[in-house]
Amino acid sequence: MDHLSLDVAHMFAGGLVLVSFMLLYQDRMFGLLNIFALHAVVVSLSVAWQAYIQFAPHLYITAAIALVVKAIIIPVALHRIIVRLGIHRTIETVGGIGLTMLAGIGLVALSIMVMLPITAEAGTLTREDLAFSLAVILLGLLMMISRRNAISQIIGFMSIENGLILAATAAKGMPLVVEISVAFSILVALTVIGIFLFRIRERFDTVDVYELERFRGGHP
């Protein structure tokens, strides 16, 4: 494996983290969808590159799924849902964007720190990739918890998934990657369907506490 191919893989992985930060920064709904599409494109590029350098043709399938489903179908579907359900176009965040970004930087640092002690045996490529994908996962989680809005939470979840695919493809010769990515796509699809079917607008966050008390039992 030559240096160049390593660097390219590296670049894609780093790019993904960057796009994750963009997701975190974005506070308008449609902008978010576009950036998520970009996120998916970067992932599929990265996967394709891995397929190329690992000589693993089945990974192309994964790349294709990522591209078709997440870069095209889902953003479009979400776009329509937003329009159909009349969801607010701006995203309510918890804490300021700046604070979130700061936390994000902390998370990236953390994922690098955690990955550092792993022996070089595993290969630099893998180690760096793992650090980046961990960062993407953590940023996705951060997004899920720092947004009050269902759509952006779904997008956070999907970015987690992209991070996982990055990790899975980076692990050389890992079997079942395709199956796993398919399984994940089903999950994501269900999520989207769930939002649509259950008319979940803000259910992530706004819950009628009194309603809950009735069946959940608060104070005696």
């Binding site: 998934e161 899975a168 692990a171 010769g173 079997p175 079942l176 069946f215 104070h219």
Partner: protein
């Protein structure tokens, strides 16, 4: 000649899958219940015969000492639950809470769930196991939301989101385990085969394993319902159909814990890795204490027993975290007893909720007077679950506490406090439910008591006498767990 071993394994997997397809298409609502039972029975037969014939492990599937009893337990409880479910669901259709279409859907999902859980238990490939657990999660999400009430949808959605995040974390952990393994045993399926992993675990990169275990514990731990990852569990139990609550508590939590255990074995086989014990002990203790206090603030009967499940999962995790032959043995035994007892409790709770028309405990009184069998069944079950003798859980709690106290007195005392607080809460509620002057509807229940009392009898008998073969098996696995 075809070997019977692999055939049996296939039967365990494909009888449920096949019947799921069949049930989805089957038009007659009344027969589906029986068909469901029948399918579960055949699966049980197939799994029971695994005791006699054990197939060699393949790269994807394995039957070994660790999983065999779980498979049998799983199929057994699945069978008894299907018997209970038949009478329960019939009543639901009668009262119009479920339409025939949903009935078909329900039964198909039931068998799919069985398939997924059996697959998760049988899987030798850690990736396959992950897929199976995810499938199980998805099916139960659909089942929890079956009634389409706002509360049920809310519960299903919460379960779905939290479960998905957990699943994602578990996947990351699995990938890292693969990475650690592939450096040693080479790339490909071998690096995911569980039996290979355990054999070579000592050579793995310990740091990678540590990181992997954190993710796996949190990921599968979400499914186990460990505090603070538990939030989905009470809602899901309370809002779904009761047979599903029984399966969730009795089986799915076990399956998830089983996944954690498999990885714990890998961890403990590696001398450089961090001991998984303290982590599990902390989470376990946290669960026990939290759930114990929460029991006081439940109004919904199913919700209360859901918290009790959290508590027991905490105890089991605690036991495995403590490790050692005694504690592991007790943990395994506790898993078994908890499955049997908790599902028996949900059987009785299901019928109680049906005859009383409510799950609110304030509106249920004096069950031992109005419905003696149901009431005493509940009393027995509750006694068993809080660990009163002669039921089996007393034995396991005895072993866990005594073996812990000699090593870590503070932890044992904390556990004891948790147990005591939980006992106080459950007994307080039980007092109101089972005793006093009866209150509310007094219609006779058309229940099938056989599953409930079968489970309770088993737990009772096991508390007094355990067959040596079973003991040997448990002890063997306990040693494997380290």
């Amino acid at each position: 000649m075809i070997e019977t071993g692999p055939l049996l394994v296939m039967a365990i997997l494909f009888v449920p899958l096949g019947s799921a397809a069949l049930l989805a298409l089957f038009p007659d609502g009344r027969l589906t219940g029986q068909l469901n039972t029948l399918a579960s029975f055949f699966t049980l037969l197939a799994s029971a015969s695994l005791f006699r014939i054990r197939p060699d492990p393949s790269q994807f599937l394995i039957v070994d000492d660790v999983n065999i009893v779980f498979i049998v337990l799983n199929t057994f409880v699945a069978f008894t639950t299907s018997v209970f479910s038949a009478s329960y669901i019939a009543h639901e259709v009668e009262t119009g809470r479920l339409t025939p279409t949903y009935l078909r859907f329900y039964h198909a999902m039931y068998q799919t769930l069985m398939f997924a859980m059996n697959l998760a238990l049988l899987a030798n490939n850690v990736g396959l196991m992950w897929v199976a657990v995810e499938l199980a999660t998805l099916t139960t999400v659909l089942m929890v939301g079956l009634y389409r009430t706002p509360a049920a949808l809310e519960a299903a959605w919460k379960y779905f989101i939290l479960g998905s995040v957990g699943i994602a974390l578990a996947l990351f952990g699995t990938i890292m385990v693969y990475l650690a393994a592939s450096a040693v045993v080479g790339e490909g399926l071998n690096a995911m085969a569980w039996n290979v992993l355990v054999r070579h675990a000592d050579a793995f990169d310990p740091h990678l394993l540590n990181l992997a275990f954190v993710f796996l514990l949190l990921g599968y731990g979400t499914k186990v319902g460990l505090v603070p990852l538990h939030a989905w569990l009470p809602d899901a139990h309370a809002e779904g159909p009761t047979p599903i609550s029984a399966v969730l508590s009795g089986l799915l939590l076990n399956v998830a814990l089983f996944a954690v255990l498999r990885f714990k074995m890998v961890m403990s086989a590696n001398s450089g890795a961090l001991a998984p014990g303290p982590l599990m002990v902390t989470l376990g203790l946290l669960s026990v204490l939290y759930a114990a206090f929460m029991l006081y603030r439940c109004h919904d009967i199913k919700r209360m027993f859901a918290y009790s499940s959290i508590e027991h999962m905490g105890i089991i995790t605690f036991a495995f975290g403590m490790g050692g032959a005694l504690a592991n043995f007790a943990g395994l035994l506790h898993m078994t007893y908890h499955s049997l007892t908790k599902s028996a409790i949900f059987f009785s709770v299901g019928h109680i909720a049906q005859v009383k028309g409510t799950q609110n405990m304030a509106e249920i009184r004096g069950l031992t007077v109005s419905h003696p069998l149901l009431g005493w069944g509940l009393v027995l079950g509750a006694m068993a679950i809080v660990g009163l003798p002669p039921m089996g859980i007393f034995m396991t709690e005895f072993l866990i506490i005594t073996s812990t106290f000699a090593r870590q007195p503070v932890l044992a005392v904390a556990l004891v406090i948790g147990l005591l607080v939980a006992l106080g809460a459950l007994l307080l509620r039980l007092n109101g439910l089972a005793f006093g002057a009866p209150h509310g509807k007094e219609a006779p229940s058309q229940a099938s008591f056989v599953p409930m009392f079968a489970h309770l009898t088993l737990v009772l008998a096991a508390g007094i006498y355990l067959p040596p073969a079973l003991v040997n098996w448990f002890q063997h696995v306990a040693r494997l767990l380290g």
